[in-house]
């Protein structure tokens, strides 16, 4: 029982950044844009949150920096993928490469090192008194990063906006049939640009968790493929906010298990492989109930273009 609780508590912490990125991927795909650049957005988020925390001394300013960096990256991606009709996937791959190199160049510029930044102010943990009185829950999320509660808030907000507001309806129509949306007078481009910026901000928050939410510094290529894992969680979660956020737990449990059985005599490499293999296997067995937005990845041309 104790093992299980620790496993789950670890899994929740591993899942937080993935869940942010998965929500980011979902909102972009819902508007018809495949955001392959999550990895780079997270990396920028992780880096600029440390920069923000470093210059201001407050991790919360760092979090704002991360969101801004992500949103700007999202905007730039939108300019290329939507404005200039570049292949969505290529745009993403280019952004990831750019981010991977650029963060190291900037690291050298600001801290004079190529591997790690110095330690900065972090977000710390919060413990809510009410939760600390409930037995099992207390062990799971008794003291957890404030980004965990923000994540719940973001998930709820996304659900509310997507399903309960006219704006959300427009987003869903744009992803499924931009031509119909366009003929109904919806500004398709505007919606796609906004969704890409929201996507970037969310991915930036996920990246910020890795740096100022966890180890309080930036280290080179610290996102380590989480952006891609998040994309598979979008598929697993069927493009719906709550399942998409929760599906990250599949990866989280595998990863958390990896930390916990490393002491056993199984070679560490095979254990480290677990999260990635599990992701493939789960994708393999995932029920194909949910459908992707019909027109994701397809370029939309406005009238007269």
């Amino acid at each position: 029982m104790e093992f299980l609780l620790k496993l789950l508590a670890g899994a929740i912490r591993v899942t937080i950044p993935i869940a942010y990125a998965a929500l980011a991927g979902m909102i972009a795909e819902r508007a018809g844009v495949v955001n392959m650049g999550l990895e780079g957005m997270m990396l920028f988020g992780a880096f600029f949150s440390v920069v923000g925390s470093y210059v201001s001394g407050s991790a919360w300013v760092g979090l704002l920096f991360a969101m801004a960096a992500g949103a700007v990256t999202g905007l730039l991606m939108a300019v290329f993928a939507i404005g200039f009709k570049c292949e969505h996937m290529i745009t993403g791959v280019a952004v990831n490469m750019f981010a991977s190199g650029m963060t190291v160049v900037l690291l050298q510029m600001i801290w004079g090192t190529r591997g790690k930044s110095s330690t900065v102010d972090g977000l710390g943990v919060v413990s809510i008194p009410v939760i600390n009185r409930i037995p099992v829950i207390k062990d799971l999320i008794g003291s957890v990063s404030p980004l965990f509660y923000l994540l719940i808030l973001c998930t709820a907000l996304l659900w509310l906006v997507l399903y309960k507001t006219p704006a959300g309806l427009r987003v869903r129509v744009v992803g499924d049939n931009p031509f119909m949306a366009g003929s109904m007078g919806v500004n398709v481009y505007k919606i796609q640009y906004i969704c890409m910026m929201v996507s970037g901000a969310l991915a930036g928050m996920g990246g910020a968790y890795l740096s100022i939410g966890d180890i309080y510094m930036f280290s080179k290529d610290m996102v380590a493929g989480r952006g891609y894992i998040a994309l598979s969680m979008v598929i697993l979660g069927g493009w719906k906010p709550v399942p998409v956020a929760v599906c990250g737990l599949v990866y989280g449990i595998a990863q958390s298990l990896q930390f916990r059985i490393q002491s056993v005599s199984i070679p560490s490499q095979l254990v480290q492989m677990l999260p990635y293999a599990v992701t493939i296997i789960v994708l393999f067995f995932a029920k194909k109930g949910a459908e992707a937005p019909a027109m994701e990845g397809v370029h939309y041309y406005q009238k007269g273009e």
Binding site: V34, M36, F80, G83, F84, K85, C86, E87, M89, I90, T91, V93, A94, V95, N96, M97, F98, A99, S100, G101, M102, V104, V105, L107, Q108, M109, R114, G225, Y228, I229, L231, S232, I235, P267, Q269, L270, Q272, M273, Y276, A277, T279, I280, L283, F284, K288
Partner: protein, 359 residues
């Protein structure tokens, strides 16, 4: 003749690639200035590191070898409409397989052993790519996610194999030295340049011939440009996706095998150094044409060695090359930028009286 050359330039849109590279170099120049360096000095160091002497030039040509293979691997996949980001992993398993075949098969003459070791790398690389293609066909999952996951799986499996069952004696994590009968000849002493360069050029020519003159190549391109139209015309698109992905992985594996048999002489975990990811940029900049890929592999070989040179003589990190690659990919695949720029320039000329309207 002149017309044919002009035609080549037009068809392969070499100008867009060149303009993209120049634009990317300019932006990186701005980054270098922000870092507090002179871009002339930095690019000077790059030029010297890439072409400065016989040694450096041989290094550039040598680095080009695996890059040609990863570029061609990307090209094969792109031709059938698949985005294969798994080249790095396919290269890894291929190089490991070649190292094992080069070491543990004994008693064969070189003329059989060397091709056999190369083949081992190609087949294992191809099979690894087939996993992704098969999963994509069967489940319709985005191949990018699959190939990325398989990269990690490949990395850890090979890392396990080289750390335990195939660990060479000594502290360094690597496999045992291959047999002399499986090694390729180094062309310039103490450099990366080995006879694999001929193999790379031959592979480029073969793929060009196949895509252009065979029915297989034609149908493969048909699937890539419009798979549902190809299906209507009676082509089994899924079969072509499998075949092209196998070839793609095989090329990647061959590139890795060449590095083991021609340069290292054993498998060591860090040896692929992101060559697989460079393949994406190389094929994109080569406009997914075999000859273009060969040329851009040479350019990227020069850039990589140039970056090493820059890393050595200035304190600008060599990672700047990733920034450059990202920008090149972005600009080459967005010809819209140049079209928009032309439109703006034209509009400005028209607005200015007595300027440019004469035609």
């Amino acid at each position: 003749m002149k017309n044919r050359i002009l035609d080549f330039f037009k068809r392969s849109q070499i100008l867009v690639s060149a303009a993209s590279l120049i634009l990317a170099l300019l932006i990186c120049g701005a980054v270098i200035i922000i870092c507090g360096y002179s871009p002339l000095e930095a690019y000077g160091a790059m030029l010297k590191g890439a072409f400065g002497s016989k040694y450096y030039f041989s290094q550039t040509l040598g680095t080009m070898i695996p890059l040609v293979f990863s570029g061609l691997a990307m090209l094969m996949a792109v031709k059938v409409g698949i985005f294969n980001i798994g080249i790095e992993g396919q290269m890894l398993v291929g190089s490991f397989a070649a190292a094992v075949a080069g070491r543990y098969i004994t008693g064969l003459p070189k003329i059989i052993h060397l091709p056999l070791a190369l083949l081992a790398g190609a087949v294992i690389g191809g099979l690894w790519a087939l996993i992704a293609a098969w999963l994509k066909n069967a489940l319709g999952i985005n191949e990018v996610i699959l190939t990325i996951m398989l990269n990690y799986v490949a990395q850890y499996i090979v890392s396990y194999l080289v750390s335990y069952p195939f660990h060479a004696e000594g502290n360094v994590v690597r496999t045992e030295e291959i047999q002399p009968t499986a090694s390729m000849t180094t062309m310039v002493a103490h450099t990366r340049l080995y006879t694999g360069i001929f193999l790379a050029v031959a592979a480029t020519a073969l793929i060009w011939l196949m895509l252009r003159y065979t029915r297989f190549g034609y149908e493969l391109r048909a699937v890539g440009s419009n798979s549902s139209a190809a299906e209507t015309a009676g082509i089994n698109a899924k079969k072509y996706i499998l075949a092209a992905m196998f070839l793609s992985g095989a090329l990647a594996g061959l590139g890795g095998a060449g590095e083991v048999l021609g340069y290292w002489g054993y498998y060591i975990p860090t040896m692929t150094q992101g060559y697989g990811f460079d393949g994406i940029a190389i094929a994109t900049m080569g406009r997914s044409q075999p000859l273009g890929t060969l040329i851009s592999a040479f350019l990227f070989g020069a850039l990589r060695n140039g970056a090493t040179g820059m890393n050595r003589s200035t304190s600008i990190p060599g990672e700047l090359i990733e920034v450059l690659e990202g920008l090149v990919i972005l600009f080459v695949s967005t010809p819209g930028i140049f079209r928009a720029a032309r439109k703006i320039i034209r509009a400005r000329n028209e607005r200015r009286p007595g300027n440019g309207i004469s035609a």
